[in-house]
Structures are given as C-alpha cells and as structure tokens.
C-alpha cells in the first residue's frame, strides 16, 4: 500500500539505537563507517550543520532535509524506528545507500516486515542494517528478511555470532533469501 511519504509526527524519544564501532556486514566482521544520529536533536540540525562523512539520519530528519542533501546522496542513510513502516520511505528507498531498522527490544518483530517490504516491494538493494536490541538467535530470520548488516549491541564477540546466521539451510516459505516456497521447489509428483 504505497502512500506518499509524509513527515512523521514528532514522537516521544524512546530507547535509541547505539552505533557500535564494529558490526557484521555481509557475513564478516567489519568496522562501522557510518555515524547514526539519534532522535531528539533534529531541531538544531540543518543541512549545513550536518557533520561531514557518512551519516544515518532518523526518518523524520531525512524527510525534512532530503532535497537539500541531494549532493551528499552517497553518504546519507536513514534509520526507521519500529513504528515506522516501509511505505513512509516508499520508492525513495531505492536511492539510498543504507537503511537501518531499529529493534528497541528483540521481541518487537516489526523490523522483520520492514526488511522484507523494503527489499521485495520497494526494490531496495543497498545495505540493510539491523540496529538496537536484536539477539544472535534472530540472525537467521533477519537474514531471511533481507538484512545484511548487524550492528549488534550485546556483549558477545561478533565472531561468535557468525555461526548463527545459518541455523537452517533451507526453509518452508518464501522470503528475501529464497524466492520460492517449498511447495514450488519440491518435485510434487
């Protein structure tokens, strides 16, 4: 249900995603090149005052500044909070190099749908990053929903997590990693 993107209403600032120095990117440990701006300070930030370098803006700020930041397109990413749906970005998603989805609690599963919709409906091909409080045991499902980057905030060393990305080598239903559900892949006679 694509709708025109409209500025999100200002909302109370809840738990914010952190921006760890290292993350998992495409199945390997990598250093984090991006600076994620938390919610809250938007009023002070203008296109001119925005620090140089790669930066991930909250959706509301990005909606406000996107025209002015046109020349910096390659270094501007967006993060969506868990109550922000994929249609708020809509077809704009395609042009972004990085989109992050915030998991305020690992039990909040809205980001899974967000990931699939960005990939499958809005043609997003850039880095899709999970930020916030997801857990290692969700890496398989996150991967299946199209995430390829994980800014993990827990205590475990990232190397320990890599094995959990493929807890299953097959799946029953279609998702981003597997376009065909099992009933279309089985030899059915």
């Amino acid at each position: 249900m694509p709708k025109p993107a409209e500025p999100a209403v200002k909302k109370p600032v809840g738990e914010q995603p952190e921006n760890p120095a290292q993350l998992i990117l495409d199945g390997a440990v990598a250093s984090n090149q991006w600076n994620l701006l938390p919610l809250g300070g938007e009023a002070q930030i203008t296109a001119d005052s925005l620090a140089p370098g790669k930066v991930i803006l909250p959706l509301s700020l990005w909606l406000e500044l996107r025209e002015q930041l046109h020349d910096r397109r390659e270094e501007i990413g967006v993060w969506l909070d868990s109550d922000e749906t994929a249609d708020l970005l809509g077809d704009d998603a395609k042009a972004l190099p990085l989109i992050a989805a915030h998991f305020p609690a690992f039990t909040d599963g809205r980001g899974f749908t967000l990931g699939r919709l960005l990939r499958e409906r809005y043609g997003y091909t850039g880095e899709l990053r999970a930020v916030g409080n997801f857990i290692r045991d969700q890496l398989t499902y996150l991967t299946r929903c199209g995430f390829n980057a994980f800014a993990y905030q827990g205590d475990e060393p990232l190397e320990n997590l890599l094995g959990s990305m493929r807890d299953f080598n097959d799946s029953y239903q279609a998702a981003v990693d597997q376009p065909l559900p099992i009933f279309r892949r089985r030899a059915l006679d």
């Binding site: 249900m1 868990s82 749906t85 690992f106 039990t107 909040d108 599963g109 809205r110 899974f112 749908t113 699939r116 409906r121 857990i135 045991d137 969700q138 398989t140 499902y141 996150l142 299946r144 929903c145 475990e156 807890d167 299953f168 080598n169 097959d170 799946s171 029953y172 239903q173 279609a174 998702a175 376009p179 065909l180 559900p181 099992i182 009933f183 279309r184 089985r186 059915l188 006679d189």
Partner: protein, 554 residues
C-alpha cells in the same frame, strides 16, 4: 497422514541442534533469562509452578501409533509417566527437566514430531475438526490445507516475533467442530456457485481477558490464495498490532479498534500486492498435499450393513448401547463409524493419560483404525475409521484401559485446564471442581436425559479451558487470596457461536456442584421435549437461572 521428506527431517533436526545450543548457552549463563524466554517458548517450553512444562505439537491433532508409542516412552523416561491432551490438540508434559528437553526433542524428531511454535508470540499449531476426512457433513477435507499452513507458518522468518500469539483453525464441515470463531483466524471451507473450493475468512476471534468472536472479512477466498491471504493478514497485524500492552496486543483488539471493514481493506490492499507472487498455491501443490490424506483401504460394505449387527449387540448389552450412542460418530463410508475414546472418567484430570494408556491407544489404532488417531479440542482421542463389526470388540478393550466412559458430549465430558494444580498463572484450581461435578452427576440416565451440554472450566481468565464458549462456563477467580468461581451461561462454539454471560457473584468451591445442580434444574423444568440446554437458555435467557441460583433461602 503427512510424511516428512528429507527436507522436513533436516529442518527439524537443525531446530533441535539450534535449541540444544541455546539451552547450553542459557545453562552456562551466556544467554540471559529474558532472551532465553521467547526462544524456549517457541520450543514449547514453559517454566511452571512445579517444573517446566513442555508442549508438543500435534499438527491438526493427527498422530500415528509410532508417535504415540514414542510419547509413551518419553513420558516414562523423562517425565512421571503421563501426558496431557490440550484444547489445541497438542500434548503437554508436566514434569520434564530443562536439561533433558533437547534430548526429548531429538527423540520426537525421529518420529516426525517436534515442539516448534507451540507457545510464544508466533503462529501456533493449526487446529481442525477431529472428524476431518470422515464426517458425513464435510464439504472438503481440511487436512491438506492445514498441512500447507503448517509448512508456511513453521519458522516463518517474518512472523516469529509477533505482538502476541496467533492461532489458526480450519473447518471443512457444515458443523463447526473446531471453534473457528474463537481463533485469530478461522477458515471455513466453502464452495462457490461454480463448485470451486475456497474459504470464508474470519479474523479477530479469541478468548482470554477480552473474549471476542471473529468477524468475517471475506466470504470467498479461492483456495489458491490461501497462503498469500494469510500472509497479508499477519503482515498487517505485525505492523499495526499494539505492542505497548500485552493485553491489547492480540489481533482481536486491532480488528475491534479499526473495525473489521477497515481491517479488511488493509488486508486486501496488502494482498493485492502479493497475491500473484510465489505464495500463490499451485494446483500441483494442492493435489500433492491431498495425496497425504488418501482414503484408507476401506472394505466395501453395502448400505445398512453392520447396523443390524450393532442393533442386536446393543439390544443385549445396555452398557454397549450407551457407549455406542454417546461415543461413536457416523462415518461417511458404509460399514464404518468413528469412535471417541473418553479421557474423562470421574477422578482423572480431563485430558490426562498414562504411558500405558498411550500405548494402549496405539494398539487400538493399529488394530482397529489404520494406525492413526486424532486429538480433539475437547481433550479426547478419536479413532476415526472403525468397522462397525469391530465396535463391540473395540469397546471391550477400550473399557479395560479406562477409555470407554460413555459420556462424550455430556456434562461430565468437560473441558478443563490444569488450573492451580500445575499452572502458575491460575487464580484457582480447576481439576477438583471438575471432579466434584463429575462425582455429583454420576448417574448416566440423568446425564443422557440432559443431552448435549458443554461444561468448560478455566483456572483464570486466560481461558485455556474455553469457559467463554461452554454452554456452562466456569472461571476461577481470586478474591483476597481465596479461590472462587464465576459461572457463565450461554457460550457456544458451534456455527451459532456465542460468548457466555456472567450469571452473577462467584461461589466457593464447595458450593459449585450444588449451584450447577440448580442451573440444571431450571433447564429441566423449562425445557421443551428433547431440547438441549443451550437452546433452552437462548429461549428463556439468563434471568430464570439467576433467580434460582441467587434465591434467598426462605
């Protein structure tokens, strides 16, 4: 029944390995309690009052004798030698050790069983009519669709962390024996004018704190669109369902808040985007799924064959006649009948069976019913395909094992949750209330005279015992630390689904059997010939019951 292929086996084995790793990390202190919680719940593991509780999935209630024998073995080796059939057609163990659960799951996997998604905020085991495939009033066998839903929902990556648990029930018959309107999604199989198979779709039903009956959001969904439509519904719910308050997180609250028309519009808009995608069921897939539920090798009998023999046997043996009347169900194939084994003799918690009984059921299934059984949502077990000529022999054996209590559908065939005896959420015990009522109403003639009557008991408002949809519902409540019981009347889980109304102030446990008696007296005095309790209630309403029950002693 459905048989695993290599892919199913591999997936379930990988799940066992995954959970073994998670359990080890938890026991080693590497996985926090609150992180382990949803992981263990999605593997059926609760932590309960006395011990962990493990809920084992029985997809749409169907099991074979090898699986029953393995369950028997598991209850002996890892538990206290008994198991419990639930209202969601699953099996629960009440005393496993946390450390043993990965081994139990590994043993289950060998016989094509698991505990995947039997709890937690995900899509749970799909349930259906226990007489699926054999009932005379059936339009289409729902089991192939249930299996396709099982596959679609199992390890669904997008829907493993929903706002709340999510339950789907499917009914393929005219009469609703699956309580579909008490589910998050209820699917009624229908045929359109062209004779094509499809589904009427209900959403937003559920019991618990805020009981609501599902609303129809679509009258005909072509069968090929089953999975894409389910995906659309759950996707809308995952995005819009409330997460700020767990009591308001069920889809029923969302549907109620939006209105079912608005909710339906969202679903249709979402579905429009995906309906022609890969989730659309191919005719091959439907045919393939149907192939797992073939007609068993029925003998061919002529119409009326067996009836004469049964009449004679029943004429000679009153006890057999009673059992035949209450515990068997007509079959669509000549010369066959379905049998319900009652787990409700007086004094045994409804749904409880011992390891020996599980093995006895397996033997009966092998001998009399092509090696398969079904768990019913009333917590009994069905042998679906018994030759009429074998009923007498089966009855005698069932009696030896304590399964032939001829009370199916009567007052003493009650649904009852584990309540305060096992469940840490309970406000009151429920098993002793069930037992006290069974003891008081032990006269079979009286029970039969009352006719079909659903009595459902829950130990708290979570409503595991379906008290809202019992003709008589009993709910355990807590009053200043003391156990009391509230009575509701007029609930109904059939096509004419309704939710019970509270009769009035609650009662102590001692008062319960007598109060039930007063209610039954009002029914008996007011009923028209052959009328069932629910019909009398619908005719005369709550008031006469209220007056009698709360009458001041004069």
């Amino acid at each position: 029944m459905y048989r695993y292929d290599e892919q199913d086996h591999a997936l379930v084995r990988q799940r066992v390995a995954q959970f073994r790793g998670q359990t080890e990390r938890y026991l080693a202190g590497e996985l926090k309690e609150e992180e382990f919680l949803p992981l263990r719940l999605q593997n059926g593991l609760y932590v309960q009052r006395l011990a962990p509780m493990l809920r084992i999935a029985v997809p749409y209630g169907l099991m074979n004798s090898a699986q029953l024998r393995r369950l028997a073995h598991i209850t002996r080796k890892y538990d206290k030698g008994y198991a419990h059939f639930t209202t969601r057609q699953n099996v629960q163990l009440n005393w496993p050790n946390l450390e043993d659960v990965p081994d139990i799951l590994a043993e289950l996997a060998e016989v094509e069983m698991h505990a995947v998604q039997t709890s937690g905020n995900c899509i749970r085991n799909t349930t259906t009519d226990q007489f699926a495939g054999v009932a005379r009033d059936e339009l289409v066998d729902p089991r192939p669709y249930c299996e396709l839903i099982r596959q679609w929902s199992t390890f669904h990556p997008e829907f493993a962390f929903l706002p709340r648990k999510f339950k789907i029930a499917v009914c393929g018959a005219n009469e609703d024996r699956a309580a579909i309107r008490a589910h998050d999604i209820g699917l009624q199989i229908v045929k359109n004018a062209q004779g094509e198979t499809g589904f009427q779709v209900f959403v937003g039903g559920g019991l618990g704190r805020t009981p609501i009956l599902g609303a129809a959001i679509r009258d005909f969904l072509p069968e090929t669109d089953l999975l894409s439509y389910l995906e659309a519904i759950v996707r809308v719910y995952n995005q819009l369902g409330r997460r700020d308050n767990k009591f308001k997180a069920r889809i029923k609250i969302l549907v109620k808040a939006m209105g079912s028309e608005a909710f339906a519009r969202h679903v249709e808009a979402e579905w429009e985007q995906i309906k022609d995608g890969a989730d659309q069921l191919t005719p091959e897939a439907i045919t393939w799924a149907k192939r797992f539920f073939p007609e068993p090798a029925y003998k061919s009998f002529t119409d009326g064959h067996g009836d004469a023999v049964l009449r004679d046997q029943a004429g000679e043996d009153k006890a057999f006649a009673r059992w035949l009347e209450r515990n068997t169900f007509p079959h669509r194939v000549n010369g066959y009948q379905s049998v319900t084994l009652s787990t409700k003799p007086t004094g045994i918690p409804p749904g409880d069976v011992t390891d020996r009984q599980l093995e006895a059921i397996a033997e009966l299934a092998d001998k009399y019913s092509f090696g398969e059984v079904r768990v019913t949502h009333e917590q009994n077990v069905v042998l679906a395909d018994v030759e009429q000529e074998q009923l007498f022999a089966l009855w005698q054996e069932a009696r030896k094992h304590g399964f032939a209590t001829p009370n199916i559908g009567t007052l003493t065939d009650m649904i009852c949750c584990p309540g305060g005896d096992y469940c840490s959420l309970a406000n009151a015990k429920s098993i002793p209330v069930a037992e006290a009522i069974q003891r008081k109403f032990d006269d079979l003639d009286y029970l039969y005279d009352l006719g079909d009557l659903d009595l459902n008991i829950s130990g708290c408002m979570n409503a595991c015992g379906h008290h809202h949809i019992g003709h008589i519902g009993i709910l355990g409540v807590d009053k200043k630390g003391e156990e009391f019981y509230q009575i509701q009347l007029g609930g109904n889980s059939t096509k004419k689904a309704s939710l019970g109304k509270v009769l009035g102030p609650s009662f102590s446990r001692d008062e319960m059997p007598e109060t039930i008696e007063k209610i039954l007296d009002v029914f008996v005095e007011n009923r028209q010939p052959e009328e069932f309790f629910i019909d009398t209630y619908n005719r005369i309403g709550l008031q006469p019951f209220k007056e009698r029950v709360y009458a001041k002693a004069s």
